[in-house]
Subunit: 413 residues, 2 copies
């Protein structure tokens, strides 16, 4: 069985979605921006045109409900972007959901199947990562809405009021309707490209830990303070960064990554010894026990350096640590089978090193993900791109997987 | 011979100068601010009251010319402060100059001697370090006036116009009048305090080199980019900082200091590998050959790391490197002799680890400096302070030294 995905319609919709917030080859469409909301209205209309009962809900999610009764599959991703994002990150999976709903409804053998396409809001964390899927799953607290802000200090609640969604009903997960959530995404790395594969079947999403490390020393004159009397918070930060790397290298598994993406020293003048410094240390791994060992290593290093002096180091987990998420085995199996039909032996199982909405949703609904190759592994950048051929193949694989998942659910029901 | 310094008048003038820009225990009196200009007018009046021919010149320097013919001594410092400065940094030496001119003019044995007190502008580099002494020595170019700006982007030229000094004559060094320049200053360090000494006779001012080091890597996703494929500019900066410290530790002499006071990594997001980074590395030493060795070590490290990859490192001397400045041996000797009279064996020779106007003036006129202890070594801070007793002793020593310098000059003339 092959679902009849329409490649021209798929690519045309992706190109149209790209126009909202387009800047050169890139897209600037952060959550709750004018471009983001206009794209959501457009998407809602495209879903309606496809015969779905569609709406933008009270948090900004767009969901198109099929008129077919369940068991149903939810298929989608997010249509918000990074501050300087690419055209496919999120958008690909959203248009896949729409196209799969259309393709299945157009074939006599699958038109009784229920596919509800969805676009979550703020997966990219302009305010709060996975905001939309949190709302859908009922885990978006009032405190989170009140305390999560964008760079300008606007809260989620204020953003929702600004775009006119205050008081609008929020769609919640109907556990009785859905048997699973499928999301396609660009890989955002280069494993597929390097191994010559076209489809990635995601086994798990890595866990992510962010540790905020603070250094407290004493600002002083950079000329008149002898080296022996300094309490240089900047020097301690540099030291910490190098020593934590040495320890992580010993603990690392094959896919472990770590990054110091933020670091600053104060007051930041060439003739003043830094009295304070801070850094954000992030590490990711699919194995939660390894994440624990790495976290322990950070704490141990801070303790050792505190004992050595002369700078005071404190560290704590920043944001919420995200535990590794395992994708549903049965759903993975169905995607793998469809991949093997379309691109025999040109698919692979792989963990996702980036975070995605299934981190939230998998607590409430079985999830699976499919990756298509990113050219040069580039993502979160205007240069992000994928081959049109791969985009079409990915949609065909996911459509066939969706059809067989829904058909077997009906059989076993 | 003891010059009759008036302790009450000395301290009272220091207290009055402190009121201009006072904030709590500190002083905010940056160059060309309203507080700075008001202080200069007040100072000019105090000099006039002392029988000197005083004026604020076209760059903002205040010079009180004695009616006595030369050979004359120029004695002073600067009355501008750091953005959050202390009450004595600069002010001490300025009021010493005024008090010494008064004390010598009041005694029959010294009233024929010529002391011209002075307050330079912008030693603290709000616009351009040692601006006032540069102007006085004829080395302030039009390009420097046009290109040197404060944090708000105002040029020196604009500041001069704003305070109404445009077109006002600028006082220049009369080489035939002066036999030397003396400056007293708080130590800004804790050598005197730690060794129980009251007076420091400065042997030299350290040379200062600032090296701006830039790191160019590649920004990328902190999850999907494996460690082996990263070009992390931040990690290279941390590495560079630790390795340069190891090399400097080998090269360092007893008073060598080095500081990384500025460092930043870009774009500065916890989930993005830094693609660019930069730091300012400053090192100081009284020995210019050691500064050369240290600079060579920086270049060698950059070359090695460039060969290792994967981040591109470039480095260059930032601002103008300041060569070590040697104080005049005869003037030092006279100050040392006066110190030995006032505080036998409670004085010491020492280099100045901070920069001062004699770095500029000594190219044109013999210079010497005297230090008094800083409590706790604290400076460039609201908490900066010195014992009143030490303040008075310092002035007495410098007054006696000035008198004997001028008397011997007359004898040998």
């Amino acid at each position: 069985m092959m679902a009849r995905v329409n490649p021209d319609r798929l690519l045309s919709d992706l190109m149209q979605l790209r126009t909202f917030g387009a800047q050169g080859t890139g897209v600037v469409r952060t959550s709750y921006s004018d471009a983001d909301m206009a794209a959501r209205e457009w998407l809602c209309q495209r879903m309606t045109d496809a015969g779905l009962e569609a709406r933008v809900d009270g948090v900004g999610n767009v969901l198109g409900r099929s008129s077919q009764p369940g068991p149903a599959l939810l298929i989608g991703s997010h249509s918000d972007t990074q501050p300087r994002g690419g055209w496919l990150d999120g958008a690909l999976g959203v248009i896949y959901g729409l196209e799969i709903a259309r393709a299945l409804s157009e074939d006599v053998s699958t038109r009784h199947l229920a596919v509800d396409p969805v676009s979550w809001i703020d997966e990219e964390s302009t305010y709060l990562g996975c905001l939309g899927s949190r709302s859908f799953c009922g885990v978006l607290t009032e405190a989170l809405e009140r305390d999560s802000v964008n760079e300008q200090g606007e809260t989620v609640r204020e953003a929702i009021a600004r775009v006119g969604l205050e008081g609008v009903e929020r769609t919640r997960l109907e556990r009785s309707r859905y048997i699973g959530y499928l999301e396609a995404h660009i890989e955002q790395g280069s494993c597929l490209e390097e191994t010559g594969k076209v489809i990635g079947v995601v086994t798990s999403i890595v866990g992510i830990v962010n540790r905020h490390v603070r250094f407290r020393g004493q600002s002083n004159h950079a000329g008149t303070t002898p080296m022996s009397r300094r309490r240089d918070a900047g020097a301690a930060l540099f030291d910490f960064a190098v020593r934590v790397r040495q320890r992580f290298q010993v603990l690392a598994g094959p896919t472990t990554v770590w990054t110091i993406g933020e670091a600053s020293i104060s007051p930041g003048s060439k003739s003043i010894i830094p009295g304070a410094a801070e850094m954000m240390l992030q590490f990711r791994d699919p194995d939660s026990s390894r994440l624990t060992l790495m976290g322990d290593a950070v704490s141990a290093l801070a303790e050792e350096m505190n004992a050595e002096g002369p700078v005071e180091i404190s560290e704590q987990t920043a944001h919420v640590a995200v535990a590794p998420t395992t994708m549903d085995a049965d759903l993975q199996e169905q995607i793998a089978r469809a991949a093997q039909q379309h691109v025999p032996d040109a698919w692979m199982q792989m963990p996702s090193a980036a975070g995605h909405d299934p981190m939230v949703i998998s607590e409430h609904l079985p999830c699976a993900m499919l990756f298509v190759p990113s050219i040069g592994g580039i993502s979160h950048d205007f240069a992000e791109d994928s081959l049109h051929e791969d985009i079409v193949t990915g949609c065909r694989v996911l459509a066939d997987a969706a059809a067989s998942i829904l058909l077997s659910a009906r059989e076993s029901a």
